[in-house]
Amino acid sequence: MSTILDSKIPEGPLAEKWTNYKAHQKLVNPANKRRLDIIVVGTGLAGASAAASLGEMGFKVLNFCIQDSPRRAHSIAAQGGINAAKNYQNDGDSVYRLFYDTIKGGDYRAREANVYRLAEVSNNIIDQCVAQGVPFAREYGGTLDNRSFGGAQVSRTFYAKGQTGQQLLLGAYSALSRQVNKGTVQLYTRREMMDLVIIDGRARGIIVRNLVTGELERYAAHAVVIATGGYGNTYFLSTNAMSCNGSAAVECYRRGAYFANPCYVQIHPTCIPMHGSFQSKLTLMSESLRNDGRIWVPKKLEDAKALQAGTKKANDIPDEDRDFYLERRYPAFGNLVPRDVASRAAKERCDKGYGVNNTGLAVFLDFKYAIDRLGEDVVRQRYGNLFQMYEEITDENPYKTPMMIYPAIHYTMGGIWVDYELQTTIKGLFAIGECNFSDHGANRLGASALMQGLADGYFVLPYTIQNYLADQITVPRFSKDLPEFEEAEKNVRARIDKLMAVQGDETVDSIHKRLGNIMWEFVGMGRTKEGLQEAIKRIEAIRKEFWTKVYIPGEKTGMNTELEKALRVADFIDMGELIAYDALHREESCGGHFREEFQTEEGEAKRDDANFSYVACWKYKGGGEAPEMVKEDLNYQFVKVQTRNYKS
Amino acid sequence: MWLSSSTIGRKVVMSISGLFLILFLTFHVCMNIVALISADGYNAVCRFLGANWYALVGTLVLAAGFFVHIIYAFWLTMQNRRARGSERYKVVDKPKSVEWASQNMLVLGIIVIGIACFHLYHFWYNMQLQEILGNETVNVAACAVGAGQALTNASVHDGYAFIAATFSNPVVVVLYLVWFVALWFHLTHGFWSALHTLGWNNNIWFNRWKVIANVYATIVCLGFAVVAIAFYFKSL
């Protein structure tokens, strides 16, 4: 191995690292901030909060988003809540406990210092959001209310109805809007990042495609921040929005940024099951439902058969014939086990033939018991909007019949490798939010994504980026006519021309669907060596098919939605392959990555800390060549690494 | 000036002028009811509202109220049509909770004002204006076209005679009834909408105001209509 990865973790005790870092980092004085430009790609929780905070500090920020408004970013769809170690409920919560739960939930594959910092700033996030006017749920006394989420034994989740992500994003969006008004942030909407421009080894600009005019545009800056979310849509069907894509991250990867732990993909247990081949996306039902809903399948196989055939209904099966398998297997956490555990348990039951809908790929989430215990009104108050949404989609009333749920791709823990400062292996390129890999290890706990996005954007990056920019104050603004910009734009243009020239007979979506099927079947919830090898072979075939058979109507100028999709799918194919490579190399089961060869007799994940306690970072080697893997060892100094136990 | 330069300001002008006109209508209907009870009483009111300085000032203020309300209505409508854009929807299907009146306030207003001109000729041109001009009597025949009755000159203070003459004509009565219906629709929306625009509304009062508006509009319009019909029957 030629490269040594320096994660730049500050010295000192865990609890003092961040304080020490801030005390000793380099800063940029206000007069110089005005002379420094920062590009922020993405306007989700991480992007918008970063752009707003950097703007407030006095930097000149260029902020890009793919939709018509920053407020559309998919952070908006997060339902359940955001964690913070406030201990307002007096149930024994603390920064250390949030840190510990996150590390444990991540199956001991996250970096301690990063996670501790995350837990530390979590409280500031709540304060900040309340000050912005985020209408969190409150108690009658006027204080903030909390609920509990999977993987925790305390109630530390703050929420705003079932629309927490929306409210937090609108908070960040309003802070961003304020800066746009002040002129510190320039907003560029309906623009998609196409390439990263590197000058003398440092990220200095981007090429974007204006989605309305189809023109390529160049933007230069002293630093580039990508906050472009995850790559879950590689699987075609996921809970991600239609325009979520991994392209910006893949472009950075191609330009030399390492991609870390791509195989850690979160499969969320409570999604509405698939209903047909025309389906465009899967809808998530908030994890908060597991607070009061009980998950079950029939005990008897003949009951399951009858449910699948439609001859029996859920309510025909008496309590004693119901298998509350999460409560049975994990008595201590019951229905509130972490997502990876709950998902696998559902798959295990369905694989054994106990699935409860016509496809056999669903389990029940039953509120009958909660309604008996609390009354329908209380249940309606807590989950009313979620129930309504479920009924709209499925045409079934969850107050009367149990909901049906099944796991679906939801979040990607893997992402661009970053050091403690959130800087990638390319100098001057930073990655924040879901698109980096840093805080969730192999599995993310519920209500932690919002926390991480805002932590990165409000409280971490605005500090750490100064440590980089302090050296850049004498660097003048860059001309967009430099050969590096020319070259990058030419590359993009060539790629678009190549795609437009294929003129085959397959639609972009049909190829994407096939890629998704391969990913779900072989690189999904249960992975095997043979399956992954097969997947790599098949993805290669898909790539060939894509570049020879895809058909894109219309022109490359003007708005062309098929061309947009095609450019993304081309990157999804590369991304899918990378996920498969990583999953193949990681011969252990941990968090969202489950290799069927590596499990205990009870079917629990079997981790291999002796051989795999590291971050797998993938380095791009050019078209056609397999990527090279570089390791960042995870030295646990403060937490004792154990087997995750949610049973007792 | 924010009352003309801002969208809410313009609406405030509409509301206040509208509420002022509602107040006027309230007095007017009370006065009309007097005519049902006592001819002398009604004429006393008429004399009171003759060419006296205070009545003239009142008339001018009232005219200004009308004028502002109408000018602003056209102004707002023009702006709103422009804001709607050049292309119109092919299919339009209004939600049930949207009152018909609320979407047709201008049309209703034009009907109201059109017939009001007719009304002004009957009861203002012939009464207060003639009094200002110094005429003591007018021929009430002009008020009762087609009525098969012998009509003579009446004193400009004899409002009762004017009412009797005017509503002896069934065509005029029908026209007035159409007017009151249009007014009813205009008031049902106008009343609560004015309060809403002034910010005097919330989730609880929302339906209350609507009910009050309906009740109020019904009382006023019924009051007017009763007088008109009663005098028609008296004339038979």
Binding site: Y458 | K11, H196
Partner: protein, 251 residues
């Protein structure tokens, strides 16, 4: 078996902002009732691309009713006749077999058409930029529980804040007025103590910007609230009026 339906889809096509638009008819057959309206358009687009025609362009993203991106005027209603939901949460089981379904873009001077059914709603961003925020810098906040807010107030603010910025209110309004959108934001922040400090400035700035961008005057028809996919209440407009008038009188 689940219901499948056949129908005629009459859809607005327009090459770009400056071109003249027209309606185009498509026969749709065997569409399952569980298909969402947007998935139905996906099916049609897939067919169009296979026939080497340009697909119908429409805005869409999260497809779970929260991003506010989808914006179709279906059978005379923004987001379709169902009410209380966005176009992406509208399912084909709600339509009659054999019917004609007419799909148009939002039509309003404030939202010019970009292509086909896609419109430009950047005006909403500009209104927000004019004052739709609490002026607090990152890191300047006090402890979250230091401000006590009665549950009722917080809930009311939350109801106002549930606006998704889709523009259905403008699309539904015969006056092309954006009052409900502005009112929702002004209400949310005027209700909460954090936002009260600059409530007057906010109301004035947002209303002025709305007007500058060519939106119409509110005549309280209530179509906006009736068509709002998130059921944002009309009483927010009264609150906005109150805030605005108070601010102007104080000047």
């Amino acid at each position: 078996m689940e219901k499948t339906i056949n129908f005629t889809l009459r859809v607005w096509r327009q090459k770009d902002a400056h071109s003249k638009g027209y309606f185009e008819d498509h026969q749709m057959e065997g569409i399952s009732g569980d298909t969402s309206f947007l998935e139905m358009l996906d099916i049609l687009n897939e067919r169009l691309v296979k026939e080497h025609k340009e697909p119908i362009v429409f805005d869409h993203d999260c497809r779970e009713g929260i991003c506010g991106m989808c914006s179709l005027y279906v059978n005379g209603h923004p987001h379709g006749p169902e009410g209380g939901c966005t176009t992406c949460q509208l399912f084909m089981r709600k339509f009659e077999d054999g019917s004609t379904i007419t799909v148009e873009p939002w039509r309003s001077a404030g939202f010019p058409v970009i292509k086909d059914l896609m419109v430009d709603r950047s005006a909403y961003d500009k209104i927000m930029q004019a004052g739709g925020y609490v002026s607090v810098n990152t890191g300047a906040a006090q402890d979250a529980n230091a401000i006590l807010i009665p549950k009722k107030v917080a809930d009311e603010a939350m109801d106002a804040a549930s606006c998704i910025g889709c523009g259905a209110c403008v699309a539904a309004c015969k006056n092309g007025s954006a009052m409900l959108f502005v009112a929702a934001k002004v209400s949310q922040l005027a209700l909460l103590p954090q936002g009260k400090v600059e409530a007057a400035r906010r109301a004035k700035a947002m209303v002025a910007k709305m007007e500058e961008l060519g939106f119409g005057n509110c005549t309280n028809t209530g179509a906006c609230a009736a068509e709002c996919p998130k059921c944002v209440s009309l009483s927010n407009i009264a609150r906005l009026n109150r805030e605005f008038i108070k601010a102007k009188l104080a000047d």
